[in-house]
């Protein structure tokens, strides 16, 4: 069972994500957008969206640091395990709090203006919100309960090793199977979110318009000669 959940499902999710993106890019340029809803409501969005996005980017950055950088590397640069723990839990909780605050505000917004959103909500996005909520809830909840207030759980010899193993084609599902159950749910939901990603508004993340900074201001089009 754990082989399927933590050995096969990650690759399946990754594959669906990859193929899904290629398919969507190829056949649904028209649907590829942030699906802005600011036209409907602007006050709550003005607070919620920047918080949510700042939090999301911090959370993603934190995961990259925590999971991809092995313990030996931080020790090598002279960071004690205790110091690392403080930075990781402190930073992680701060990022999670910003993210959660934004997410709560956006959710309240969707609820308060639900009449206006009623006809423009897409089922695929609703599923995505649920997955995002479960992932974030168990991630943040697990960290708070186990690490900040509990006796602590070190993910670096376990979850992080499992995670890195996936990329070098050396899956070690037993490591993940031994992790506390909130983290297991967190990981499973995150994998589902990754698989579901290409079919939702989240594709906007790949379109960050950095090219805008160097483009000439007025765009002309002419027929090819």
């Amino acid at each position: 069972m754990s082989t399927i959940l933590f050995g096969v499902w990650p690759y399946l999710a990754g594959a669906v994500c990859l193929v899904g993106h290629v398919w969507r890019w190829r056949f649904d340029q028209f649907g590829w957008t942030s699906r802005t809803s600011q036209l409907m409501e602007k006050r709550w969005l003005a607070i919620g969206s920047p918080l949510f996005h700042l939090g999301a980017l911090m959370v993603i950055g934190g995961h990259a640091l925590g999971l991809l950088v092995p313990a030996s590397a931080t020790r090598a640069v002279g960071l004690s395990d205790h110091a690392y723990h403080l930075v990781a839990v402190g930073g992680g909780v701060a990022a999670g709090a910003v993210f959660a605050a934004g997410a709560v505000i956006l959710t309240i917004r969707r609820f308060l203006s639900r009449a206006r959103f009623r006809l423009s909500n897409r089922p695929a996005d609703l599923v995505m919100y649920a997955l995002l909520g479960i992932t974030a809830g168990f991630g943040l909840g697990g960290t708070l309960v186990l690490n900040a207030f509990g006796q602590g759980y070190d993910y670096r010899p376990t979850i992080a090793v499992w995670f890195r193993g996936l990329f070098v084609l050396d899956p070690r599902p037993e490591l993940m199977a031994a992790a506390p159950w909130p983290y297991q749910v967190h990981v499973l939901a995150a994998l589902a979110l990754i698989a579901w990603w290409p079919f939702t508004r989240l594709v906007h993340v790949w379109s960050v318009p950095l090219g805008y900074l160097i483009r000439p201001p007025i765009v002309y089009r002419r027929p090819p000669s």
Binding site: F30, T33, P209, R222
Partner: protein
Amino acid sequence: MRVRAQLAMVMNLDKCIGCSTCSVTCKQTWTNRDGVEYVWFNNVETKPGIGYPRSWEDQPHWRGGWRLDRQGRLRLRSGGRWRRLARIFANPDLPTLDDYYEPATYDFDNLLSAPASDQMPVARPLSAVTGRPLRLEWGPNWDDDLGGSALYAAHDPNWAGLSQSVQRSFETTFMFHLPRICEHCLNPACVAACPSGAIYKRQRDGLVLVDQDKCRGWRMCVTACPYKKIYLNRTTAKAEKCTFCFPRVEAGLPTVCATTCVGRLRYIGLVLYDLDRVEPALAVPDDQLVAAQRGLFLDPADPAVAAQALADGLPPDWLQAAQASPIHALAIRHGVALPLHPEYRTLPMVWYIPPLSPVLDATAALGGDNASADDICQAVAGLRIPLAYLANLFTAGDVDLVAGALMRLAAVRSHMRSVTVGRPDPADTAAAGRSAAELEALYRLLAVAKPKDRYVIPAAHREEAAELAQWTSGCPLDRLPLGIAP
């Protein structure tokens, strides 16, 4: 000199009766779809009035268009590129649905399904967004014909600089209608603000279009357009705008709004301009803007211009069309058409002949003869109120320019009357600084021109048809290169 062609429109405001036929036919053609219920690519508003969306001309609030910074450089009022990307998660200057209006339909079903009763069943208004009953309290042109003007028109941003007493007396003074479409600007703020580069200006005819496949819904264009003529589709979350009916003009047909206008007040044609002069024209102070914008346009009858136009790739039949252009005639040769809010510095390409009728009414009210150039000119000179207001709309505040255009229109009137009654008066032509032949040509263009003279639209070339089709559908498999100013 680099010669470029631009499709442009002129509207003669004197003839607009505010019937909104143009808006309705445009809507039936382009925006009768889900998600764009609130969108009017063409709308008609009453002036003085606050317009659609509410107070769109209040740029300190909406931050549309361009302005010169302290060093005299041209900047988007909504900020630079970094600021725009920094605000991408929530754009602080975006109008919401309430600034336009909540679109409604009616519960017609109730008329058929209501049970028998002593009362007539009614069709209640239902919101097209929520599907729920709605109190109709605002809409496009809600303040039609100065309705509720103490509430609405008194907040018209064009009163800026006019005294309070002037503002209060406007109800008895004048009123006119202003039909508006996208200006297909030479320096489009919407294009410059689009982070995705999805909005583009077609090099051949200058139309500004949105590539629906490349728009990512960052919604910065809506803020940047000072005319608020680019809209978000509520369901696709992509930007949409007036297309100048490109499938029609490519076939040489006028736009739907122009074709169906009952006042026959719209003119469509080409203007030629010099791309090299665009930047300098944008850097002049406000009081020279109209002159600078007029100075951009090249005379297609000038052999040097014609030769350069052909060298720059303009097809010969397009050059001919430019030479016969009613736009060039009205805006440049006769000088009676003016740009709308030139101070936004987008170089708008829909120009307006200011309305003479408020002046005529005032002349009559003053006891003058409203067909006499002398009396009208006196009234024009004495009429501070409409003139200053019109100047805020059309000349960035230059009253003399508006007065000049109005006096030429008045001269046409009185000259034609004297010709008709067989007593031509040289004073008429002298006052306007125009020859009799010129005044008569202007009269024909304004009053009796047939469609072939009002619309001089060269068809797209058949050999380019396939390319044009891709251009506009933005076929993702066969993208066109994005070019810099060529």
